[in-house]
């Protein structure tokens, strides 16, 4: 997408798309991912337990993207899959576990044993991640918060080698606060309940940080349960107008085993089953071959992951 306005590079400030306010295009999921997610991109797939874009994550694996910097408040099972499949070289995150179940074994294998490759980390709290998206969505270089003081997170550097957490003094009161650097992902991917035919998107229930993720990103993809003629009001719903969204793809059930309030319920058994699938490299690769690549491709050609269970 064009990221310049009157000669200025605005891509790091706000998501403007083009100056002519392109409307979102409704395309297939494969097309949406192919057009937006490129090797080496920074990609934020958000959804706080609810509305996690699992189908889009599997499509990224299927398209064998490499060298991604994955960004997510809670890199749960969706990023365990992408990390294990060798798509990511870096991760910016706040909490990496399988909620209510335990460890993310593919994430741990990457950090502890560099399998299928090393994974660079940039680590925050959830409040820090949320505020970084807010800064990105607001066109600000950083956000201010109370937080991190006295914790080990305060001393960590970001992926750039520079600190992403800095002390800052309030110019009005002199109080010492914490500044966190803005996040402006190349791509944001979310799942929502509905879109209309113009590509405006509506989501409700637990809406997490998805609005901020889309508005902070240079490009965006939204998978939806259904495309409808009209977005009639729902309690607590937020709407992302078509002109801040690039691609919409209808993917019913696209958040499974997460859920879409009003359409599906969280498949907690699948989260529990993931523990055994992900614990073992070979078991995980069988899952990839069966559930992601199907009959079309062999598992993970050229990633090292195809070599089996050696550290």
């Amino acid at each position: 997408m064009v990221a310049r306005w009157q000669g200025h590079d605005v891509s790091r400030c706000v998501h403007l798309g083009t100056w002519q306010e392109d409307m979102a295009e409704i395309v297939s999921l494969a097309d949406a991912i192919e057009r937006t997610v490129h090797d080496g991109d920074s990609v934020a797939m958000e959804g706080f337990t609810h509305l996690i874009p699992f189908a889009a994550g599997r499509e990224v694996i299927r398209q064998r993207r490499r060298g991604l910097t994955l960004i997510r408040m809670t890199p749960d099972v969706i990023y365990d899959q992408l990390i294990g499949a060798g798509c990511a070289s870096k991760l910016i995150f706040g909490w990496g576990g399988n909620p209510g179940v335990g460890s993310l074994h593919r994430f741990r294998d990457a950090v502890e044993n560099a399998w299928p490759g090393p994974l660079g980390l940039e680590e925050h709290s959830h409040a820090g991640m949320a505020n970084r998206y807010v800064a990105g969505a607001s066109g600000m270089p950083f956000a201010i918060m109370r937080g991190y003081t006295g914790t080990g997170l305060d001393g960590l550097t970001g992926l750039s080698g520079q600190p992403v957490i800095q002390p800052i003094t309030c110019p009005f009161t002199g109080e010492r606060l914490t500044a966190v650097a803005a996040l402006n992902p190349d791509v944001a991917v979310i799942h929502a309940q509905r879109a209309d035919r113009s590509g405006s998107v509506q989501l409700w229930g637990i809406t997490g940080v998805q609005k901020e993720a889309v508005l902070s990103a240079r490009r965006s993809v939204v998978t939806v349960e259904e495309v409808v003629d009209e977005l009639d009001p729902r309690p607590g719903a937020i709407v992302l107008p078509s002109w801040v969204v690039d691609y919409v793809a209808a993917v019913p059930g696209g958040s499974h085993p997460s859920y879409a309030l009003g359409y599906s319920v969280r498949d907690n058994d699948s989260y529990q089953a993931w523990d055994a699938i992900s614990r073992d490299r070979e078991e995980f690769q069988r899952w990839l071959a069966d559930e992601v690549f199907g009959r079309e491709g062999g598992p993970l050609a050229g990633t090292g992951a195809a070599e089996g269970g050696h550290a």
Binding site: M73, H126, M145, G147, G150, L153, G205, I206, V265
Partner: protein
């Protein structure tokens, strides 16, 4: 409520019905944590044991307890335990559902929330919590833990914190490998110097008993034991020279009503049926 009877009750083990009347150690711990909550409080709830305890309190003595999950669900009233902090039942039963930036910036950060309920992989004598890495270096950890999540700001900004954690020499360490969430830092005056608004840990509830910070030294001190647990039992599972209160409480085991309520909440663990 009956007074505690001292008797030949066996020590609760880490699992299985081994306490008085077939009560598990986790049930003892959950009931003790629930009793630390009073009706009408506001409580920022983590998943797992803290969520079980907060929901038990709401189902028994604290029907007006306000449960707040960091998924943005304020005043959630689940009839069974959610598996995650974002299960649909939390949104469907909440007084309000807000975004994640809002739950942290508008609700937690200004000190609106009374109690923060946290778990820990490691906790030290000053109540500092590690949920990030085990091992000597951050870059090459022996065990990579999930990380911070909402905990650092909950520990900083809730007016008080309760920690629920199973006690062992691995979890109760002299010094945490990484400070994810600050308790009392390096001792008295630390929280003030760091500018942390909340008062810090008020109780640490384990499967052996209860520890509370000494008002002078801020050091976690054993103040209560479950029936059948001895001070040496607790010392054996603590990685520092444990201070013991001169007046030790013997904690009441769960009542029949508490056990019934807890087991009802857990009857369909994490189930998301459309009830």
């Amino acid at each position: 409520m009956t007074a505690t009877r001292s008797g030949p009750a066996s020590r609760p083990g880490p699992s299985g019905p081994s306490g008085p009347g077939g009560v598990t150690a986790d049930e003892m711990m959950t009931a003790a944590a629930a009793r630390a909550l009073r009706d009408g409080m506001t409580c920022f709830v983590g998943i797992g044991l803290p969520s079980a305890a907060a929901n038990l309190a709401r189902a028994t003595h604290a029907p007006n307890l306000v449960l707040i999950y960091e998924s943005g669900t304020i005043g959630a009233k689940p009839g069974r335990l959610p598996l995650s902090i974002g299960d649909g039942i939390l949104a469907e039963t909440a007084d309000a559902v807000v975004s994640v930036p809002e739950i942290f910036n508008y609700w937690l950060q200004p000190g609106r929330i009374g109690i923060g309920f946290l778990g820990a992989a490691q906790i030290d004598r000053f109540g500092n919590i590690n949920t990030t890495v085990i091992g000597d270096t951050y870059a090459q950890p022996k065990v990579r833990l999930p990380g911070a999540g909402g905990a650092p700001e909950i520990a900083a900004s809730c007016r008080e914190v309760i920690v629920v954690v199973r006690q062992s020499r691995r979890s109760f360490v002299d010094q945490v490998d990484f400070v994810t969430s600050v308790g009392f830092g390096d001792g008295p005056g630390s929280r003030e110097r760091l500018g942390l608004a909340g008062a810090g840990p008020r109780k640490v509830i384990t499967d052996l008993g209860v520890l509370e910070p000494d008002p002078e030294t801020c050091e976690l001190t054993l103040t209560g034991l479950y029936p059948g647990v001895s001070v040496p039992d607790v010392q054996a599972r603590t990685g520092w020279e444990l201070a013991v209160s001169a007046s030790l409480d013997v904690l009441r085991p769960p009542t029949a009503a508490e056990l019934t309520a807890l087991r009802r909440l857990q009857a369909v663990p994490g189930s998301e049926g459309a009830a």
